[in-house]
Amino acid sequence: MNKITSAIQSIGKELGKYLPRLYIVREAKGRDGVDGRVIAYVDRSSHISEQYKTLRTNLYSLSPDKSIKTIAITSSQSWEGKTVTCCNLAVTLSYDKEKKVLLIDADLRKSAVHAMFGLPGEPGLSEILDGRETIARFTAKPARGDLYIIPAGNVKDDPTGILHPARIEPVISRLKQEFDYIIFDTPPVLEFTDACIVGALCDAVIPVVKAASTQEHAIEDMVNLLVEAQAAPKAFILTNAHHLLDSHYSFYKYKHLMTYGKKE
């Protein structure tokens, strides 16, 4: 039986070299009740974790003259991978012991960050903005690992009203003093204006684009809206990628990536 298993594995491995790469989340919940999709936390040795490390490195070099402290992650439409990207990016950044990283769930309509990390959904950002809760409660100690997290909280009124710049700007200013990186998970730009409000107050807006799914005109509309809101995107993150289709990655490089640093 073991021989059959190993044979299947080796055949799959060999054939897999010629197929697009894919990460299969084996367990819905990993250690500490963190969602399996937060791969940077639950499976640090995976190739996806390596890709998030690349993202971190590129983020450092994105603006060498002026450091980027606040980052708004958004997208044109739903289901493009904003929350997963936010969580993984925040975890990857938090691995740097010299940096304090805060992840804020600014998607008050469909909050998911707390669920990703297995935390209670409230209190959170809406309570802070309403004055019902203090920031200190969330910045006292990291929620998971070295990462500080502020969930969306319980939203009773209009989310856009809660996220009014007059309310949120002082909060961000204060948090910037305390943290090196603040990551905002925001709603889709083409559906709600929240991302434009938050983005205008951040150092960088980075939209997520889902490969082979997001249409060109949707990205164009999103960019136009962000530019109008003084929140022009600094960079893109391409998710759901097919490496074999991407001309940046030759097969050789791909194979090299798979075996690099591993013992024979």
Binding site: Q9, V25, L238, H248
Partner: protein, 450 residues
């Protein structure tokens, strides 16, 4: 074969037969060399059937034509030869008559003993002439030539009467099946006998029955017997059918020719009979004595004797030629007969009852080409209609904004289940996966490009 009657086209067919790439395949049977298989491969069964049928018809027509040509040439040659011999014999006859006349004239001046001798010699010469005539007919020379001539005459008169009766009643029936059967039995009988004799001789010489030569002869004998039996059956069928108009006309022409021949024959026989009676009467009065002729009489008598010998020889040659002619006539008649002689169709072409096997390889190649073409066209169409961004290069070039990360696809159990439901493919549940199941799942998911 006319062009109209031939659905394939006679000229085209003959060209196809001559052309090795024409597609018409003719091969000899390995066991029976005289048997030829004709086949033609075509996509349309009906066309194959027509072509094979037309090929067989063409072979028969060509064969008949060749036979007629060869028989015609032989008949012409033999007729010419017979005519030559006839002329020679006529000249010998004329010379003999002159010698006899001269001897008779000389007889008046001789003594009675010598005169008798001359009479006897001339009488013998006349009888010799008759004997030569009979030799032409192939009969045994009897001691009473007059009786022989009488018999011949009566036979000829009987035949003449019969022919006249048939012509008067317009009863132009071709040769009956019995007659044909008789003649063929005669031909086959001779062949069978000769083959049997040949085999017996070889065995007597010490050849074993398994010897190839003996076996070949035995095969030939068997084949001849089988053919004879087959012809007997075909003749039985032939006997029951009504003769065609063409056959009737042929028979009429033959009858009229025969009648003319008989009339001529009767005339000749009557003349011969007359001469013979005269000479017989003269010879009866001559006593036989041993007399030695001398001088010019002896010379004439000797010349007469040599002329008689020459005529005998000519008559024998002529007889042989006539025999050959008769054989050829007989053979050609058999070959021209409706049942055929040399070329016969053992098994007529058949229309296939079952559908022909499909052209597997051709269909496969054709299907492959069509599939590749259709697939390419479809993929081009889908690709041209799809305006989604697929690579970081596209994204960067289109919006002039850097792409700081490219993250691979992350797939959860829910995604797999959704894909399973969508594509109707069983993928093992992610809960409690074994190593093998996990490997299969991972591979299947990647193949399906979830």
């Amino acid at each position: 074969m006319s062009e109209e009657a031939d659905p394939v086209g006679y000229t085209y067919l003959m060209n196809s037969l001559r052309n090795p790439r024409g597609g018409i395949n003719m091969r000899s049977d390995t066991r029976v060399p005289s048997l030829v298989h004709v086949s033609f491969r075509s996509r349309v069964p009906d066309t194959s059937y027509k072509i094979v049928q037309a090929t067989i018809d063409a072979i028969r027509v060509e064969n008949k034509k060749t036979l007629e040509e060869s028989v015609g040439a032989s008949v012409a040659f033999l007729t010419r030869q017979i005519s030559l011999y006839k002329d020679k014999m006529a000249s010998v006859d004329a010379e003999m008559l002159n010698v006899i006349k001269e001897l008779k004239e000389m007889a008046d001046k001789l003594d009675p003993e010598q005169r008798d001798l001359i009479q006897r010699v001339t009488a013998e010469a006349t009888i010799g002439q008759q004997a030569g005539g009979r030799a032409v007919a192939g009969e045994t020379i009897s001691t009473d030539p007059l009786a022989e001539i009488d018999m011949e005459l009566s036979g000829a008169r009987r035949s003449k009467k019969m022919l006249e009766k048939h012509i008067e009643e317009k009863d132009f029936r071709p040769e009956s099946a019995d007659q044909l059967q008789g003649r063929r039995e005669d031909i086959f009988g001779k062949e069978i006998e000769s083959k049997k004799l040949e085999i017996a001789e070889l065995l007597a010489k010490g050849y074993l029955p398994a010897h190839p030569t003996v076996k070949r002869l035995q095969d030939g004998l068997r084949g001849t017997i089988e053919t004879q039996e087959k012809y007997a059956k075909e003749l039985a069928a032939f006997a029951n059918r009504e003769p065609t108009e063409a056959e009737k006309k042929r028979a009429e022409r033959k009858m009229r020719d025969e009648l003319e021949k008989q009339e001529l024959n009767i005339e000749t026989l009557e003349e011969k009979k007359k001469i013979l009676e005269e000479h017989k009467k003269a010879a009866e009065n001559v006593p036989i004595a041993e007399t030695v002729l001398v001088g010019p009489v002896a010379t004439k008598a000797s010349k007469l004797k040599s002329l008689r010998d020459e005529k005998d020889i000519l008559a024998r040659y002529s007889y042989d030629l006539r025999k050959q002619l008769e054989d050829i006539d007989l053979r050609s008649m058999s070959e021209k007969s409706p049942v055929g002689f040399i070329v016969e169709v053992v098994e007529p072409p058949k229309m296939p009852v079952a559908p022909l096997p499909s052209q597997g390889t051709n269909n496969f190649v054709l299907g492959l080409i069509i599939a590749i073409g259709a697939g390419s066209a479809l993929s081009y169409l889908v690709d041209s209609l799809d305006k989604s961004v697929r690579t970081s290069v596209e994204l960067r070039e289109k919006f002039k904004v850097p792409v700081i990360a490219t993250i691979d696809r992350i797939c959860t159990a829910e995604d797999l289940r959704a894909a399973d439901a969508r594509r109707n493919i069983i993928i093992i549940s992610m809960a409690g996966l074994s190593a093998a199941a996990a490997a299969i799942t991972a591979f299947a998911a990647r193949v399906l490009n979830l």
